[in-house]
Amino acid sequence: AQSVTQLDSQVPVFEEAPVELRCNYSSSVSVYLFWYVQYPNQGLQLLLKYLSGSTLVESINGFEAEFNKSQTSFHLRKPSVHISDTAEYFCAVTANTNAGKSTFGDGTTLTVKP
């Protein structure tokens, strides 16, 4: 079994400030880790993923996440946020043994204020 906990349901932040969205997971097998973003009235879009190798992964729009195996975490960070980053963010874990079933966290709503 696997589970995901997103530690903050809402994160308000001012524009150009740094932000961290926290995600912890548990699994008895090796996993792949993902962050997805959902803008209002849209489906989810992949933001970034960790498969193997370097524990720091980056997205094209300035987000990064670091896989920490000892702490079973995959926190998402951005050094300077924009108004357009306002969205809901979901952390997901997929075990590499169960047909790609993903378990999603409950989501974190990031609100960037001017």
Partner: protein, 114 residues
Amino acid sequence: DAGITQSPRHKVTETGTPVTLRCHQTENHRYMYWYRQDPGHGLRLIHYSYGVKDTDKGEVSDGYSVSRSKTEDFLLTLESATSSQTSVYFCAISEGGQASYEQYFGPGTRLTVT
């Protein structure tokens, strides 16, 4: 963008009536998933498919059935809709294997059961 469409996009139905939601993909991906999204619950897996006529239950499958007779189509049926099934339903697809099970989501179907 991955070629995933969902129909209908919005539906209002009465308690006790059957409802079928359709997911159509043009990517020839092996895996297809149905999720429901409710406030405070993130995404919860209803059913998934790992090939034509191969399906399995997710964590919230009671009251739902699925069928996949062609690679490109995955149908979700509510045999007798209840108010607790009012939700936003998302279909997702995944290539699986070395592609690591990252998922691509459709635009969603908003279902209201009165």
